[in-house]
Amino acid sequence: MPQMGFVEQLGIGALMTIQVAVLSYLLALAIGTVFALATLKRRLPVDIIWQTYASIFTGVPSLLVAFLFYYAGSGMIASLFSLVGLSVTVDVSPFAAAVAALGMVYGAYLADIIRSAIQNVPPGQFEAARVLLVPRPTAWLFVILPQVLRLALPAMTNMWIVVLKDTALISLIGLKEIMAYAKLASGVTKEPFIYYMLASVFFLGMTALTYVVSQRIEQWTQRGYRPVAAKERAHAL
């Protein structure tokens, strides 16, 4: 039977897992959005930067990137700043290395998803906003973004699950999240099965929760695509 002390630790680890996953995903969203917008029009310098970035970060395991950032991160940052003549020492924690690695890798995937969604918004939507004199930022926020969200949501939800599970793998760089605590508990109690099963339950639970939440969000983004009245006001049809 699992000892409560260790189960508590698993809980702490689970919180860490969620923290890393959320921050990584947000970073990936930011990177993905920047690249998606930048590569909407075909401009050679941007394309070269994007293709290089995407090729590297989708062609290498995220665990390897995390190791690289963790072990060689301080050195790389120091070298980078020394190019501009500054002497900088930054300690890269496992947390920072994990978030940076996952964010940069999955940013590449999200960029493709977001760009594809933007390109699938009918061009007439952009044109209608233009002829109605809607200012560009307002048009992007209120007309384009909701439609991009509707198109990209399934793929973005999948990506969230992938990021969450990859967080488990990244524990191998020494991050104190759920897998690390499960391993610790297993080593001490010699009862690995139950602790790893608990970890499985955590991930399955998160997957189920994600499914429920994304269904709700999907319903909201699909408003207008179901041919029913929005509010129950107009009964006289």
Partner: protein
């Protein structure tokens, strides 16, 4: 951090040994995973308890990270006396065997979903026509439905394959020295993290891109009939 080409060259044997381990883990997983996924996918397409069991299988093995499964198989199963005290121990004490089991289970979950998607996309008219022409269900499945499904899901399979290649880095947790672990080992005794890790990254990159090229060629060959002349 500087890249040390001499060190890179010297560490090549170790890194290539790691690459060999990576493939030794990967290839059986791809074959076994595919074989296991097919009946699950077919069960999923039916209705009734078998479909529900298949759906549960897919949900479980797609929802649990491969690392957890590897630990469960390698550390967790030996806890059960049935594994520890019987002939099964010869298998489960072997790290390779555990890696194959763990990764196959994960891979089969994703492949079952991919195959299901492909089979569902085959137009029912084709299946009806083949039945009308007297083909048995088995013949229809292997000669018509699966080849057609394969063409539809080539892109999805490519994605899954590339993900699997990268997921093999998890086996470093259960004592197998794959490419990632090999790079870390070189770092351990040379104190240079940058060179071996970047070199390993380059090797992964080459493998992934070779596979991508292979898929592009396969796609062109398989979908020749769809090309506009």
């Amino acid at each position: 951090m500087h890249y040390d080409p001499i060190l890179a060259w010297q560490s090549m044997p170790d890194l290539l040994a790691g690459t060999a381990t990576t493939f030794a883990v990967l290839l059986p997983v791809l074959v076994l995973g595919l074989m296991l996924a097919l009946p699950i996918a077919l069960a999923r397409l039916e209705t009734g308890p078998r479909a529900k069991a298949a759906a549960g299988y897919i949900a479980f093995f797609r929802g649990v990270p491969s690392l957890v499964l590897l630990y469960l198989v390698y550390s967790g199963l030996p806890q059960l006396s049935i594994v520890r005290d019987t002939f099964l121990w010869t298998f489960f004490s072997n790290a390779y065997f555990c890696a194959w089991v763990g990764l196959t289970l994960t891979h089969s979950g994703y492949m079952a979903e991919i195959i299901r998607g492909g089979l569902a996309a085959v137009p029912t008219g084709v299946i009806e026509a083949s039945t009308a022409l007297g083909l048995t269900p088995r013949q229809t499945l292997f000669r018509l439905r699966l080849p057609m499904a394969a063409r539809y899901v080539l892109k999805a399979y490519q994605n899954e394959l590339l993900i699997m290649v990268k997921s093999t880095s998890a086996v470093s947790a259960i004592t197998l020295v794959d490419l990632t672990a090999a790079a870390n080992t070189v770092f351990d005794y040379t104190y240079d993290p940058f060179t071996p890790l970047v070199t390993a990254a380059a090797i992964y990159w080459c493998i992934v891109n070779l596979m991508r090229t292979g898929f592009t060629l396969a796609d062109r060959k398989l979908n020749r009939h769809l090309a506009r002349t």
